[in-house]
């Protein structure tokens, strides 16, 4: 008995029609998840907001440091190698600083206490659960 015959003899009698349906649904699920979660395109600009209004939109093509004033002080956003991070922020818990480098379109770092945010935008606008 070849290994292929053995495998089909071991599996086929145990797969009922509904099991094939489940397998199909599961595979579709995996493929959709992969497409949905791995499709992040590279960003080409950073949208910086302060107090809910757009402060600046900067291209990622050249490295720079941007100082954004907020109610608590100045947040420093740095752009380097087409990546963006919040380099320093006066917020007490430093969540947005600890988030590190943002690279893909749709990624966002929020410094809520200082009302500063930086969001990466790609060539096409992606929807998420917040703005859908």
């Amino acid at each position: 008995m070849s290994s292929h015959e053995f495998i089909s003899a071991a599996t086929l009698p145990h797969l009922k029609p509904g099991d094939w349906l489940t397998l199909l649904l599961g595979s579709i699920c995996v493929v959709l998840l992969a497409l949905r979660l791995w499709s992040g395109d590279l960003a080409d600009k950073a949208v910086i907001r302060s107090g809910g209004k757009i402060f600046r939109e900067v291209p990622l093509s050249h490295d720079q440091q941007i100082e954004v004033p907020g109610p608590l002080g100045v947040s420093v956003i740095s752009i380097q190698n087409r990546k963006v991070r919040i380099a320093s922020d006066p917020s007490p818990r430093q969540y947005c600083v600890r988030q590190g480098w943002l690279q893909q379109a749709g990624e966002i770092a929020l410094c809520l206490p200082n009302q500063v945010s930086v969001e990466l935008a790609g060539s096409r606008k992606k929807y998420d659960s917040l703005n859908y």
Binding site: P13, H14, L15, K16, D19, C29, L37, W38, Q99
Partner: protein
Amino acid sequence: MTASTTKKQERGARIEERGETATPNKSHPSILNPQSSILLNTTAEDHHIARMAAVALGLTVLENAIPSPLPGVKPGLANIVTLIVLARYGLRAAAWVSLLRVVAGSLLFGSFLAPGFFLSLSGAVLSLLVLAFAQHLPPRWFGPVSHSIYAAFAHIAGQMLVVYLWLIPHAGIAYLIPVFAAAALVFGTVNGLIAARFMDTGTETLSTKNTNVTK
């Protein structure tokens, strides 16, 4: 852990049986009178659950010895036992076996109440919840393979939920979800097939079938 409990329970039951039939020995009244000592009254079902949990525990130990390319991707062989118990003895017994396996396994590996314990607990609880619904699927169309796949997806969902809500509250873990989902699909199918193979002849016991497979 569970193995020793099983032994104790069996011994207790044996003493009880003897206590009913034999006359009490006057020199050792405490041994032959089980009602006076600290002894759990166990039923045959309890013994069966303990035995199945011990098998599941053995599979857990076995699979921990298998190196994994990615932490968190495991075959979940113990779920084969859960599936068989679910099909033969119902959801209550399956829940006992699954949860006993999680608790005793964590005691064995020294991870009781550590993050890893809560990960397996959340996975086990969520897959039991899904199995509670999946077992009512029409058996003409859906077999253990379907149950196994649904349970595997629920397992991974429960774990990701705990990881996201508690351990790593960062959207970056979303990049790992397709990997885990694919692993759940593959291992869920394989476990379901193994469980189905064990179940297709109901007369043979688990241990004899085990030896058949290893041949």
